[in-house]
Amino acid sequence: MNSEFTKTKEVSIRSLIDENQRGNSLRRKTERLIPIGLMLLASLSILTTLGIIWTLLSETVEFFKRVPFLDFFTGTILKPLSQNPEFGVLPLLMGTVTSSLIAMVVAAPIGLMAAIYLSEYASLKVRKVVKPLLELLAGVPTIVYGFFAFTFVTPILRELIPSLQATNILSPGIVMGVMIIPMIASLSEDAMSSVPNAMREGAYGLGSTKLEVTRRVVIPAALSGIISSFVLGISRAIGETMIVTIASGSTKNFTFDITQSMQTMTAYIVEVTGGDAATGSTVYYSLYAVAMTLFVFTLIMNLLARSVSKKFREEY
């Protein structure tokens, strides 16, 4: 290519670009529409929230017209379908809280220790194998866990605890805990691995063992992240449906006895929607009141987890 040719071409590149740019004002205008379109898509998520709240709220209001607010939240007896129905939500709350607590007793220590192992101890190779496998555990559908709790874990537990009923809250609680382990492990691991390495190096440099670095530096620094993973775990347990539905039966017991069948809020919703509850009946509305309670419960948990972990992110 001779320089003469190059020279003219050079000029034409520039002028071509300039020319195109002049004609591009239409393009720039249409570009301004893109964010508006995308914003509409983004607002869909807000619409979903509003939809949930509207759906739950309108029917819940109707429910509280029929059943006094206080009776609902202080009643220990739930007999929604009986001839003299009673709508105390406490048995359901009890079932929900108990099963979630059992789940956390299993998941919190195991999940945290697994996270410590993965974040602080495991070699890259081990981590590369174990993490996806744990993800796999998290990916097992809950219906499978339910089947497993009902047909396998309960019979085994009955060998150990003879008084255990065929449907009970203990077995689904434990299985739910196993289900939550990966979640807590992975969120806590995230929190721990986002502790700057510089901080670990500082501690190792002073002759600390791994355990000491973990205990005195990493965990304190990641504490809010870890706590928030626990709270999210609880929230997940509260909202879990199929495991308890299948393995804990539908007895509306208000009891502390974990060997017995208890019903959770979620299982109640399944029971009522699965049945013949006629639109307009109190039972039908109770569905929404329970769902609303469940929604508020998990919402509080999520907001709590968020604010805790936010605090932690601000630290560095």
């Binding site: 070699s123 390495n197 510089a198 002073l206 002759g207 005195r216 530096v217 304190p220 560095y316």
Partner: protein, 272 residues
């Protein structure tokens, strides 16, 4: 490099000829290091003398930090690291199983480029080392903290707020706090990885002063990208390039009369 090799050979017969030659506290021998398959340190032969300041210079990525971290085996905290060769600390090969890293590291402190205090109080930061090593006695701890902060020339600035968060200090103060934290476990060596590169001129000056004041007690190996700093504070300088030692000699020689043209190019800023 040849000079160095000869010297190491001489040294193995304990023939100390050079008048500036003090006892080597570290000696490396055929040290090679790989991150995965990438060869980060190539056949490093280097000795570090007791109670001297050794500066390590070289362009970015040449392996300065890697080498420094090999000296207290911190490099092993990275994933998939392979090391071969010998690194002896006071005659013991530290790469073997014989010495737990925790003991080695309690004798070899380390200061990093970015100050990295723990998210604890100033006091707790300095007391951390003694505590993990089993010192519980409160009076003793207080004494150690005070002494270390004094050595690090930080005591006067923080003595009224020992229990405030370390993050309330300025960058330069934080760096001196990190040095104090090292000093609290009474190390024999302090490794410093670009300790002033994130600091302002005044803080830099203070740290350089500090190095001068403690070098009678501890051996110091310092990585710096600031050639003038190396010239100012070090007794010897090692020039790294692409994971190799190009030249290692007295600082004045390296800067004024380097043997290798690459060294000359580098210290005169023709690359890097």
């Amino acid at each position: 490099m040849t000079v160095l090799k000869e010297r190491i050979k001489e040294n193995s017969f304990s023939v100390v000829r050079n008048e500036n030659w003090t006892k080597p506290i570290y000696e490396t021998n055929g040290l090679n290091l790989w991150y995965g398959t990438s060869h980060a340190l190539k056949n490093i032969e280097l000795s570090i003398n007791e109670r001297e300041v050794t500066a390590i210079i070289g362009p970015s990525g040449c392996g300065k930090s890697t080498f420094l971290k090999t000296l207290n085996r911190m490099v092993e905290t990275a994933a998939d690291v392979t090391i071969s060769g010998n690194v002896t600390f006071k005659g013991n090969n530290i790469l073997g199983k014989s010495m737990p890293v925790e003991i080695l590291r309690s004798k070899v402190g380390m200061v990093f480029q970015k100050p990295n205090p723990f998210p604890k109080s100033i006091f707790e930061n300095v007391a951390y080392g003694p505590k993990v090593h089993g010192i519980r006695n409160k009076a003793m701890l207080e004494m150690i903290v005070e002494e270390s902060l004094k050595k690090a020339a930080l005591w006067d600035e923080v003595k009224d707020r020992l229990h405030k968060s370390a993050y309330s200090l300025s960058g330069g103060q934080q760096q001196r706090l990190c040095i104090a934290r090292c000093l609290a476990i009474d190390p024999e060596v302090i490794l410093m990885d670009e300790p002033t590169s994130a600091l302002d001129p005044v803080s830099t000056h203070k740290i350089e002063e500090l190095i001068r004041s403690i070098k009678n007690d501890v051996t110091i190996a310092i990585v710096t990208h600031n050639m003038q700093q190396a010239a100012r504070i070090s007794d010897r300088t090692a020039f790294f390039l692409n994971g190799e030692i190009i030249e290692h000699n007295q600082t004045s020689t390296i800067f004024n009369n380097p043997a290798d043209p690459l060294t000359d190019d580098y210290v005169n800023g023709r690359f890097g």
